[in-house]
Point group: C2
Chain length 364, copies 2
């Protein structure tokens, strides 16, 4: 069956493009001596996580306790929960999971570190902890070398957890391209001060983890890090393309839709809206459009209702009729996949099967 014969909207992944994305980043990371621990929030599918490991990744990253459970059940052995999960039941399950998997978590408070220690102690397992630093994004993370040192010191005193290094997310740096060099220098000094302080206490940071997809290929410019956690690179999306981090051909995931209405002059309506693509904007480009129409770059995906995609075809390079199939590259692939229970995979347009998005809809 060809992908255009699937019932729509259908999320489809080109296996050749996917494999090429995996190989290219693994090769880059290897070349620069960086460990690759991809964030599986993008796909939430254990089979793809295993493909990532086979491509040379050293482990995986997840955002939720429920995703960790799905990935562990799917055969992944080395999991970073890049989230300060808090809650007795969740931590209890993660601690049990750590009995036969290597489990690492990011924390930015002694309160959470103590709760993790308690859960791991009860389960009889060991959980590795990374101290999260805020390097300017103002989300999670401690701010100063003193706070990082105090948290690391407390971790070392608590049972069943061990200090394993630091983590940070320098996403904000790439949002101001003109200041990058100075920002990277400042980041280097900031992280360096933390590492020095920890070192002076006799604490070595085995893992120094940072980085994200839009900038995955600039990770070697980020000072100190030895591990990166890109997510989107597996599929790429319109925002990855917009920032110049991939070609359109590297956008492995696309959504096949059907034109369902052409009644309004200058418009074509497709059967995918915000409940198919998510409402994420084209933040790396001119902000216009909710996806890239592969069949005609002059057609603007102007707006969305929940199940209607509104195409402005007034400058289109083609005509549209009801029943036409189109292929759309979503703005933000992580948010798109999160809407769907099942996605299809194909080679050269011929469907080979489907994957259940096993990790979606889980508890944080």
């Amino acid at each position: 069956m060809h992908i255009t014969e699937l019932e729509t909207p259908a999320v489809v992944v080109d296996l050749d493009a996917l494999n090429s994305n995996l190989t290219r980043l693994a090769s880059y990371a290897n070349q620069h001596g960086l460990k690759l621990r991809p964030h599986t929030k993008t796909h939430k599918i254990p089979v793809i996580a295993r493909m990532q490991i086979e491509s040379g990744c050293h482990g995986i990253t997840v955002a939720k306790s429920g995703e960790a459970a799905v990935m562990a059940a799917g055969g992944l052995d080395d999991i970073l929960v890049a989230y300060p999960v808090f809650g007795r039941e969740k931590l209890g399950r993660l601690a049990v999971l750590a009995l036969d998997k290597k489990l690492t978590m990011a924390v930015d408070s002694a309160v959470t570190a103590r709760a993790i220690s308690e859960a791991a102690h009860k389960a009889g397992s060991t959980i590795h902890l990374l101290v999260e630093l805020d390097v300017g994004m103002r989300r999670c993370g401690v701010s100063s070398p003193e706070q990082a040192a105090a948290l690391a010191a407390e971790i070392e005193t608590l049972p069943n957890i061990r200090f394993a290094g630091i983590t940070f997310y320098p996403g904000h740096i790439w949002q101001q391209p003109e200041d990058q060099s100075a920002a990277l220098d400042a980041l280097g000094q900031r992280v360096g001060a933390v590492l020095d302080r920890l070192s002076s206490m006799g604490l070595s940071s085995e893992t120094i983890s940072g980085g994200s997809t839009p900038t995955a290929y600039q990770s070697h410019l980020v000072p100190h890090i030895n591990e990166i956690r890109p997510g989107t690179y597996v599929f790429n999306d319109r925002n990855t393309f917009g920032v110049g981090a991939c070609e359109l051909a590297d956008c492995a995931l696309r959504v096949v839709v059907t034109v369902v209405s052409t009644a309004v002059p200058g418009r074509a309506i497709i059967d995918g809206g915000s409940k198919t693509f998510a409402s994420d904007r084209f933040i790396s480009g001119d902000g216009k459009g909710f996806g890239y129409i592969v069949e005609d770059a002059s057609t603007l995906f102007e707006s969305m209702s929940e199940e209607h995609g509104h195409l402005d075809i007034s400058n289109a390079g083609r005509s549209y009729k009801i029943g036409d199939k189109l292929t759309v590259i979503p703005n933000h692939v992580c948010a798109c996949v999160n809407m769907h229970d099942r996605i299809w995979y194909h080679r050269k347009g011929i469907v080979e099967g489907s994957w259940q998005v096993e990790g979606r809809g889980k508890i944080v």
Copy 2:
């Protein structure tokens, strides 16, 4: 168990508020002689659809063929698919469903009407069709009385479908409050011209369907209509409140979250972001914030990552610590529910059970 003891993020529905919402709108509709056919895209749960019928609704509305199947299996007998569904398999399934359910569909083209006729003919069922008018929103719908008449006439010539009336969505009118009276007059003339034209051909429009939640209680001002299809009224949300169409107490659906980080000064991070709430904006208010924090109106839900909610607590009327439970009213409840597999229901905070969101993740 109290709702604050649920693992987070947890979507919870107050049964008393839900019932009060159902009763209030049913009473209004009854008072004004309007049939109520609520749009179940908001909840996608057959049990709630049946509660709506029990409250006095005459049938339900769905957006997708997959939702129609779920609702039919859940015992709903009179279903409007307010979408120009196109595709042989989908229409085939809908046609079979129409063998023992009353099924109505909205169409704006002869192409789709013919495809529906063909499917119904093959199944041996009858499908009722509403001709969709574009009254200014520029989404779906024919533009002129001539086009509406031509489509209705063609429908009457085709087997196994019958012309049942017209439908339109006047959502744009309420976006410019100052022009409402003139806009309603213009709408009345526009729809009236269509009805006159159909009437002159001997076609009576049994159903004249329009309306949406933000304006549900102004539906009696919309000329000609005899049926309304509000969705959000069942739960309400921050945007319904913002437009003045409900009180905060009427917001029956809320999301319980946990504070997971307070490390960054002026910030508290909750364990729900765009994959919990959706990215929909506060379009009926000042545009700020991704939800209303029930425990403190001075706390701004400033931004979101996928699993992090970023609260600006610099002007907060309370303090925050890790582990605190908060209750959030989402901006757009339809988009929020669509992210979740299961939602909980309670009375006065005591959990009584949960519903599976059976209709989510379906084919359009």
